[in-house]
Symmetry: C2
Subunit: 91 residues, 2 copies
């Protein structure tokens, strides 16, 4: 299954006719050294900060999911952008 298919299938049903700006960010980490602390939680905030350079992000519209199993960890950020999102032109 291709990536586009995966993301399309993960969209909420019934929203087909509503044009919403959405950003979904996934960070998957396969760790060789499990004894080190994970840096994904810190990375999460920094990635949101980067996105905020480009679009307005309401923190209430950000949902975070974090899964960990053995040496795999996946961080998922789902951001619904405001309909009248003002796109910023950062460097």
């Amino acid at each position: 299954m291709g990536l586009l298919d995966y993301f399309r299938s993960s969209q909420p049903k019934g929203s087909a006719n509503v044009a919403k700006e959405r950003l979904q960010i996934l960070v998957a980490h396969d760790r060789a050294a499990r004894d080190r602390p994970s840096y994904l939680p810190k990375l999460q905030q920094e990635i949101i900060d980067v996105i905020r350079k480009y679009v307005d992000v309401d923190m209430n519209a950000v949902s975070v999911n974090y899964e960990q199993e053995d040496a795999h960890e996946v961080l998922e950020l789902n951001i619904v952008l405001p309909e009248a999102a003002q796109q910023r032109f950062a460097p």
Copy 2:
């Protein structure tokens, strides 16, 4: 299918016994306004810069895939981290 399953199934075969540090980052964007320029290419470099605060990233070990179809765009970054990757402790 859960996210962990998806990422596990997307791993290259035959590497089960080799513990490699890998980071995979996906950014999916559903755009309501297609007339605006995409900011994903710029976001890409900024996300790599953020990751570099935490681990050494060899730019030769970064592969980038970008897919676009209608109002959907997906940016994929695959980063193989060096085995002796020195984890940095950024703020």
